[in-house]
Subunit: 138 residues, 4 copies
């Protein structure tokens, strides 16, 4: 755990009261922790904007009856095997699979991989969630 | 201008260094101002999520040759005249008009108004930008 | 008005039924118009991703009592006068002003202008709404 | 695989040309598939707006040295065990863990679960990616 520093800042009185309300409404017990999370959220946005190394989770929804689809998705992942940290497969229904794939790499590459999965026939949805290697967050 | 209060919070040392970098990279000269803007951004998000009174700007792009379109857009705005603060019309090209419409009201109403304009034939694009009455920001 | 072409496409039967439901739920009277709007929305996203010439509306909320702020906002706009199509000012309350500024230019420039306005002391919120010159939509 | 229906729609000629360009630029080989994906994307947005049953992936980044954190995250997940489909843990560094958690339930519940994880001390980032049960997509 990193050493904590005491930092002070100035806030308009009404803004401070609204901050207190926001902290409570969000279920935080600690104002510093709330502001730390705002800063971290901004840092992750910046990593993705600057195309730095990032971590993202691709969530796929697909119909495994689509001929050859599982093969193609597996090949695509192997082409990026050094960037794929983990893949978890869930059997949603008799027909449908959900898969979550954690990818580490530059933002653009991760987006391109999600896009290339989305356009496979039989893939009904592909969404991407932006996270971080944590290097700039800890 | 509201009275300022001095507030102190604790930050992990590396997070503090990254915050300093983020403040500089964003062109702010003042760390407090940067954090105040993070908090205000969160407050505006919350106003829209809770469907409180908000201010939004609808930007329309449309082809004024579409028969009856200007009339219908004007009628729609008159139906909400108490909510519309200002409308500005720009002649983009011989054919195309851009219009920005500032609306005050509950978030859901503002969204619904933008949607009803988007589906008019001849409207090529309608986007909505979420702002605030400022009641909870000042 | 551009000439219309008849295009046919294949849709899974249940997807077609859901499309019909979506068209009705969104208040469209015409399926083609609904799909055209989906395509146009995608084209505008692409213009901004590729940093092509775009149109955007910046909505500002600020306290005009902040010393020198109006001057600085005016200077900033004059520095980009060839890109600013229109500015409309609304007096929200005794203290607060809302301003909507329509800007034409490359996406990155428009974002940077919005950022430089946001970080002025006294500006409580700055949001950006992405629209288009319409060149690729009509 | 559902039966396909042939549907025809009218498109302005220039819009059709841009659609063709968009299809190629996005790497699709099939125009119908491109439009199907636009429609499905819209259907998933609608499921989340209407708070219908949805599938979402929460990606967490946390420091496992934070005392009691793993316990608390595990308890939180057990409180929702009927909604959690799978959890995968990745050891990012000596200190940091990334976890992806697939959740099925109403949109609001999934968001609230993500929020309650985010505010745990030691959790550096929590992001949510919106997917679907696929009921309205297949």
């Amino acid at each position: 755990m990193a050493e904590l520093e005491r930092v002070s800042m100035s806030l308009e009185k009404p803004l401070l009261q609204r901050l207190e309300r926001l902290v409570r409404a969000s279920g935080y017990t600690n104002r510093s922790e709330f502001i730390r999370d705002l800063i971290r959220g901004k840092l992750v946005e910046e990593e993705w904007e600057r195309d730095e190394e990032a971590v993202g989770t691709i969530t796929l929804l697909y119909d495994h009856h689509q001929r050859g689809l599982s093969d193609r998705l597996t090949h695509l992942q192997h082409d990026h095997h050094s960037n794929i940290l983990a893949t978890t497969h869930v059997h949603l229904t008799h027909d449908l699979c959900a898969e979550m794939i954690m990818v580490r790499g530059q933002g653009k590459m991760v987006r391109a991989l999600a896009d290339s999965m989305r356009r496979e026939k039989g893939v009904l949805h592909a969404s991407l969630s932006m996270s971080s290697t944590g290097k700039s967050l800890a």
